[in-house]
C-alpha cells in the first residue's frame, strides 16, 4: 500500500467512525428495548425515518435551529414509542399471545408507519437546511463540520446511556430486568414503568439516529430508515442481543468494516459487508461477542 493508499485508508477510517456513530445510537436503542421486552421491534427502521421527518418539519416549517429540531424530534419519537407500547404492544403482551404473533404485530406496524409517513410527506427526497458543508482536514482524516457534530452527538448520548445504566436506580432496574425478568419482578421493580421508560429511551435514540443518518447521507425518503434496519440488526447481534456495550462495540466493527471494505471492493456493496458479518456471527457465534453470563 503506497502513500496514496494509506491516505485513502485513513479517509475510510474517518467515514467508518461517522457511520459507527450513527449506528451506535440506533443499535443501542434497539438492543435495550429487545433486552427488556424480550422481542425485537421490526418497526424500528420507521422510528428512524419518523425522527428525520419530524426534525425536517421543525427545521423547515417552524424554522428551528437544526440541532434543537433534532432534540425535539428525538423526544417526539420517544413519545411515539411510549404510545405504541401502551396502546398496541402491551395489550398484546398482556393477552399472553405467543412471541411470534408479537413479532408479526411489529412487522405489520412497520408497514403502517412507513405508509403513514409516505401519505403525509410524499415519496420525494427531502433534506435539511444546513448550508454548504466544506470538508476540512484533521490529521490524516477528512470531515465535514456536520460529521464532527454527528460523532459528538453519539459520544454524548453514549456517555449519557452509560451513566444512566451504571449510576441511577432507573438504569440499574433496567439492567436487572434485562438480566432476569422474573427475579427483577419479585425484587419489586415496577415492570410497567421500566418498560415505558425503555420505549422512551429506545425511541429517542432512534430519533437521534434518524436525524444524524439523514444529515450524513444528505437526503432521505420514507423508506430510508427501513433500508438501514438490517445494518442495525447486524451491529446488535454482533454485540450480543440485550447488551448496550456490545452494541456500541458491534457498531464500531460494522461501521469500520463497511467503510474500509469500500476502499477494496465497489462501494455499492458496502451494505453487503454488514450482511456478511451478520451471517458469519449467526453461524459462528450466535450469542454475540459480548456474551452475558447466563443468557444464551
Amino acid at each position: 500500500m503506497g502513500d496514496r493508499g494509506l491516505s485513502v485508508f485513513f479517509l475510510a477510517v474517518g467515514f467508518g467512525l461517522v457511520t459507527a456513530s450513527i449506528l451506535t445510537l440506533a443499535a443501542v436503542g434497539l438492543t435495550l428495548q429487545f433486552g427488556i421486552t424480550n422481542y425485537v421491534n421490526f418497526a424500528y427502521g420507521e422510528f428512524l425515518t419518523l425522527g428525520a421527518y419530524l426534525a425536517w418539519v421543525l427545521n423547515w416549517k417552524l424554522h428551528l435551529n437544526l440541532w434543537l429540531a433534532m432534540v425535539g424530534a428525538a423526544l417526539l419519537v420517544g413519545l411515539v414509542g411510549v404510545a405504541i407500547n401502551y396502546l398496541l404492544l402491551r395489550p398484546f403482551v398482556r393477552k399472553g399471545i405467543a412471541l411470534r404473533y408479537i413479532l408479526i404485530v411489529t412487522f405489520g406496524l412497520s408497514l403502517i408507519l412507513s405508509n403513514v409517513i409516505l401519505a403525509i410527506w410524499g415519496a420525494n427526497y427531502q433534506s435539511f437546511d444546513v448550508g454548504s458543508q466544506l470538508p476540512f482536514h484533521a490529521g490524516p482524516f477528512l470531515f465535514t463540520p456536520n460529521q464532527v457534530l454527528i460523532t459528538l452527538v453519539a459520544l454524548c448520548a453514549m456517555l449519557g446511556v452509560h451513566l444512566l445504566l451504571s449510576r441511577t436506580r432507573l438504569g440499574k432496574a433496567m439492567r436487572a430486568m434485562s438480566d432476569n425478568h422474573d427475579l427483577a419482578m419479585v425484587s419489586g421493580i415496577d415492570n410497567n414503568r421500566i418498560t415505558a421508560f425503555t420505549w422512551l429511551l429506545s425511541g429517542t435514540l432512534a430519533g437521534l439516529a434518524g436525524v444524524v443518518l439523514a444529515l450524513d447521507v444528505t437526503s432521505f425518503q420514507p423508506l430510508f430508515g427501513n433500508d438501514f434496519l438490517f445494518v442495525i440488526f447486524a451491529a446488535m447481534i454482533l454485540g450480543g442481543v440485550g447488551s448496550p456495550y456490545g452494541a456500541m462495540l458491534g457498531s464500531l466493527v460494522i461501521g469500520l468494516a463497511t467503510e474500509i471494505s469500500a476502499v477494496v471492493v465497489n462501494s455499492a456493496f458496502k451494505d453487503d459487508i454488514a450482511f456478511a458479518v451478520l451471517i458469519a456471527v449467526l453461524l459462528l457465534r450466535p450469542q454475540g461477542i459480548m456474551r452475558i453470563a447466563g443468557r444464551g
Binding site: 404473533y101 403502517i112 440488526f233 453487503d272
Partner: protein, 331 residues
C-alpha cells in the same frame, strides 16, 4: 366484452397464484411456526429464474443471466429449485437452535440485500427495469389465439394449483405434518420426543419456498414481465394478511383469505382515482389498511375466519362417550 373477459381471466389466474403463495406460507408458518418475513423474495427468485431460463440469450439493452430458451416446464423447475435453494440457505443460517426472532431478522435482511442487489446490479436480472418479453409458455407448440390461450393458461395454472393443493393437504395429514405442528406448539417437547426438529423445520421452509417459486414462475409466464416493483416488501405483508385472515394452518381458509385480501380488496381499490398532486396517497393508504388488517385479525380473531380444525384422535375404550357410560345400569 373482450376486455371484461381478459380482466376476469387475469383475476382468476392471480387468485390461483395467490392461493399457491398462501399455502406455501401456511406450510412455513401455519404448519411449522417459521417466521418468514420476506416470503416475496422467494416468489421473485422463482419468477426471475423461470423467466431467464425461458428467455433467449440476452441481447440489446437487456442484461440477464441464463437465457437458455428452454421449454417452460423446464423453466418452472429451475425457478422452483432456485427458490428452494435460497430457502435452504436461509434455513441453514437461522433455523439451527436460534430463537424465532433471529430467523425473522435473517429473512428481513436477506430480503433487503436481495432487493438491493437485483435492483442495482443490471447484469443479474436487468436491474430495476426487470425482465420483459418472456415467450408465452407452450404457445410455440400450441399456436393458440389470445383468447383461447388465456383459457388454456387458466387450466394450466389450475392444474398446477390442484397438484400443490394435494401435496399441501397430504403433508398436513401425514405423520410429518403432525410432527411439524408439535414443533410449532413446543420445539423443546418435540425434540425431547426424539424428533429432528432442525431437519423438519428445514423441509417445511424449503417446501414453502418451492411453492413461492412455482407461483412466481406462473406469474412471469402469464404476464411475461417482472421487475422489482412486483416484489417490494409490501407484497410480503399481503400474503401474510391473506393467510392470517383466512386462517393459519387451514388451506381452505387460505383460499378464502387469498380471495378476500389480495384479489377483492386490492383489485376493488385499484381503480380509485388518484388524488391530484398526491399520486402515492391512495396506494399508501391501501398498505396502511393491509397493516391494520394484519394487527386487527391477531387481536380480534387470531385463529382467522376458518380456524384450524381440532384434531380428533382415537380414544381409549375406557374414556367412551360419557353419556353411554352413565346409562350403563349399575348392577
Amino acid at each position: 366484452m373482450e376486455q371484461i373477459f381478459f380482466y376476469a381471466a387475469t383475476l382468476v389466474v392471480f387468485w390461483f397464484i395467490f392461493n399457491i403463495q398462501t399455502w406455501g406460507l401456511n406450510i412455513q408458518f401455519g404448519y411449522a411456526g417459521i417466521l418468514d418475513f420476506t416470503y416475496i423474495t422467494f416468489f421473485a427468485a422463482g419468477a426471475y429464474f423461470a423467466g431467464a431460463t425461458a428467455m433467449d440469450k440476452a441481447s440489446g439493452d437487456l442484461h440477464y443471466v441464463l437465457g437458455l430458451n428452454a421449454n417452460f416446464a423446464v423453466a418452472m423447475v429451475v425457478g422452483a429449485t432456485a427458490a428452494g435453494v435460497l430457502g435452504a440457505l436461509v434455513g441453514l443460517v437461522a433455523l439451527n437452535r436460534l430463537r424465532s426472532d433471529y430467523l425473522a431478522i435473517v429473512t428481513v435482511s436477506v430480503g433487503a440485500i436481495a432487493y438491493d442487489l437485483v435492483g442495482n446490479q443490471r447484469n443479474i436480472f436487468n436491474g430495476f427495469d426487470g425482465l420483459l418479453g418472456i415467450p408465452y409458455p407452450f404457445n410455440d407448440i400450441l399456436q393458440l389465439d389470445p383468447q383461447t390461450y388465456t383459457l388454456f393458461y387458466i387450466a394450466f395454472a389450475g392444474a398446477v394449483m390442484l397438484v400443490l393443493w394435494l401435496v399441501a393437504h397430504r403433508i398436513y395429514n401425514s405423520p410429518f405434518g403432525r410432527a411439524l405442528r408439535a414443533i410449532r406448539e413446543d420445539l423443546d417437547v418435540a425434540e425431547a420426543f426424539g424428533k429432528n426438529t432442525y431437519a423438519m423445520r428445514m423441509i417445511a421452509m424449503v417446501v414453502g419456498c418451492v411453492y413461492a417459486g412455482i407461483a412466481g414462475a406462473l406469474l412471469i409466464g402469464f404476464i411475461s414481465a417482472f421487475n422489482p416493483g412486483g416484489w417490494s416488501p409490501a407484497e410480503t405483508f399481503l400474503i401474510w394478511a391473506a393467510m392470517l385472515v383466512g386462517g393459519r394452518a387451514n388451506n381452505v381458509g387460505a383460499i378464502v383469505g387469498a380471495l378476500l385480501v389480495p384479489v377483492i380488496f386490492l383489485e376493488g381499490t385499484r381503480y380509485l382515482p388518484a388524488i391530484q398532486g398526491h399520486a402515492e396517497l391512495v396506494p399508501a393508504l391501501r398498505n396502511v389498511v393491509v397493516g391494520l388488517l394484519l394487527i386487527a385479525v391477531l387481536w380480534f380473531r387470531p385463529e382467522g375466519l376458518l380456524p384450524e380444525p381440532r384434531k380428533r384422535f382415537y380414544q381409549l375404550p375406557l374414556s367412551r362417550d360419557p353419556e353411554m357410560v352413565a346409562n350403563v345400569p349399575v348392577s
